[in-house]
Amino acid sequence: MSTTSTERTSTGAAGAGTPARKPATMAQALNTALRDALREDPAVHVLGEDVGTLGGVFRITDGLAAEFGDARCTDTPLAEAGILGTAVGMAMYGLRPVVEMQFDAFAYPAFEQLVSHVAKMRNRTRGRLPMPITVRVPYGGGIGGVEHHSDSSEAYYLHTPGLHVVTPATVADAYGLLRASIASDDPVIFLEPKRLYWSKADWSPDAPERVDALGRAAVRRSGTSATLITYGPSVPVCLEAAEAATAEGWDLEVVDLRSLVPFDDETVCASVRRTGRAVVVHESSGFGGAGAEIAARVTERCFHHLEAPVLRVAGFDIPYPPPMLERHHLPGVDRILDAVARLQWEDD
C-alpha cells in the first residue's frame, strides 16, 4: 500500500456522474459519519451527556436519537467514568460503543477506565475481549472557551499503549477517519478540533471519501524548503504559514499526521529526507508533548538528511490561559515563520 497520500483539503472539479459536492462543515461530516455507522451496523451505540434530545452541545449527534431511538443514542447520567466503564461492558458483550466526552478537560474522570481497562483489556485477555470503542473528545482552544474548555490532551492518551489516537483536520477526514475509528476493533481516542467544527469545504455527504486504515499521514501541501509536521487544529495554521512563507522564498511542505498512534514514520521521514528541515507544530504544551516524540523519531531516522535541528512550535508550558489571552499561547503564523527562519539557511 502506498504510504504517501497526496490528499488535499479540497479536490478538483468532479467528473461526470460524481455526486454533487457542496459546502459542508466538519460538524456535518461527523454527524453524517455517526448516522451512517448507526445505519450500517446494529452493534454501534452512541452514548454520552446530552447526545440524545439536544444532539450534543456541539450538535454532532443532532437527530440521531430521533432516527435511531434512545437505545442507540443514549443520554447518560453525567459521569464520565460511568459512561466509559459501561461502554467497556457493552463492548464485552459485542457492541461497538461510540462515546462522547463533552469537552477535553471533562474527559479526565474517565482516565482510569481508559488506561486500566479500555487500553489493556485485549492484552490481558489474550485477545478474547477486544475493545472496539471510539471515544470522541472535542479538544483544543481558539474558541474563546472559559477555563477547562480548551485543553489539548493528546499527550496523555498517546503515552498509553493499546489506544489509537486520531485527529482530523479536514471535513473529508472528519468523516473518513471517524468511520475508520468506529470500524476499528481497537479503542480509538478520536480528538475533534473544536475550532474546526464550523470550518467548511466542498464535500459530498452521499458519497463521502473513506479512509482504509488508520495510521496514514497526508501531505496537505507539497514543498521543497522544509517540512511542517502537524495535526488537528494546527493544520490550517501551518497551511496559512506556508502561503505566507512564499514571500520569504520558502516553499514549505505541510504533513497532516491524522493519526498520532499509529504513527506514520514513513510519510514523515520521506518528506523530511526530501526537504532536509522540519518543524513540528501543535498547540498543546511542548514539554513531554507529541512534538518531543516526533522530533526524536525524525532525528533518529533522518539525522544524515537534516540541515538543521528539528524545531518545535508548541503552546507554552502553562495551564491553558483565559480566553482573552489565548492568542498569545496558541502557535500562530508568525511563531511558525520565526521557527522556519531559525532552520540554519545557507545565507544566514
Binding site: H45, A71, T76, P77, A79, A81, G82, L84, G85, T86, A87, V88, G89, M90, A91, M92, Y93, G94, L95, P109, E112, Q113, S116, H117, K120, M121, R122, N123, R124, T125, R126, G127, R128, L129, P130, P161, G162, H164, S184, D185, D186, G215, V261, P262, F263, D265, E266
Partner: protein, 386 residues
Amino acid sequence: MTVLEQPGTTGHTPPPAWQPRTDPAPLLPDAEPFRLLGTPDSDGLDAGLLRTLYRHLVRGRRYNRQATALTKQGRLAVYPSSTGQEACEVAAALALEERDWLFPSYRDTLAVVARGVDPVEALTLLRGDWHTGYDPVEHRVAPLSTPLATQLPHAVGLAHAARLRGDDVVALAMVGDGGTSEGDFHEALNFAAVWQAPVVFLVQNNGFAISVPLDKQTAAPSLAHKAVGYGMPGRLVDGNDAAAVHSVLSDAVSRARSGGGPTLVEAVTYRIDAHTNADDATRYRTDEQVEQWLRHDPVALVERELRGRGLLDDDAAKAVADDAEAMAADLRERMNADPVLDPMDLFAHVYAEPTPQLREQAEQLRAELDAEAETDGEHGREAGAR
C-alpha cells in the same frame, strides 16, 4: 402590584417536583443481617443445596490453604486469601446460571473457581505468568480486577447490552467494603438504577480495607443503605451463612432477570487471614476479634446444619474432605511446574494488528532472544566439553 391572596402564604403554587417521590421504605435493608442457618427457617432449606454448598465450602477452604502455601513456597507472587469469606465466594458463583456473567475482584479467585474455571487458570494473575489465564468469554467471567470497583460499571454495561439484545442475562459484580468509597461504585450503581440494568452488586464487608476499619470508610447506617439513594433495594445478609447469602443473591438474580432492576447486597463477613501474605494484620486488629469470627465459621455453620438434620455423617464428610484434598494435590502438582512462557506474547495482543512501531520492537526482542539462545547454546557446549 403583587397582592398576597391569603395572609401568611406565598400566594402561588410552587412548581411540581422534577419527578414523583418514591417511597423509600421497600428499598431499605433489614436492621439485622438476614440469617437462615441455625434459625427456625433453616428447616425449609433444600438438602441438595446444603450438600452442594458444603462440598464447595470445604473445597474452597482447602483451595485457600493451598494457594496460601503456594505463596509461601514462591509459586505465587501474592495471594489475597478469602479464608473466612468462602460462603460469599461460593454462593455468588452458585446463584448464577451458565449464561450469566461474574465480575470478580482480585480476592475472588475462589468464586471464579467455584464457577468452573480451572484453579491454575484462575491463579495466573497471582502467579504472574499472564494477567487473565482463563477464557472470559467461555466461562462468562470477567478478568479479576485489581483496581477497586472499576469492574462494577463493566457489569452494568454488559447487563445493559444483554438486555438491549433481548437476552435474559444477569451480571453479578463483587466488591469489598473499601471499594464502596470509590467513585466507580457510585457511578455504577447510579447507571444500573437509571437503566434498570439486570445487575446484582455483592459487597463483601469484611470490616477492613487492608488496615482501615469500616468506621473510617463510611458514616452510612450500613453499606446496604447506600442502595436507597440510587433507588434500588439494599439487602443485608450474614456473609458467613452460605444458605442465607445464596438465598438473597438468588432472589436478586431472579428479580434482575425478570426486569426488576438491580439490587445491592451487603454480606457481613470477616477476612480471617491478612490482606495478603505481604500484610501484617496484627498491626490493626486483635486476636480476640479473629477468635470471635472463627467461632462463626462459614464451613462449620453448614456442617452443623447438615449433621443436625442427619444429612451428613463422618463417612460423607470424609468423602467431601478427600475430594478437596485431591483438588489441592492436583493444584499443588501443576503449580509446582514452571509455566511455559513465550516472550513474543508481549506483542501478540496489544492491538488487533500491530503498529509498525510494535513490529520493530518485536523484531528487537526476537533478535535479543536469538542472541540469548546462541549464548546459552555456547555455554551448553562449554559445559559439555568439560
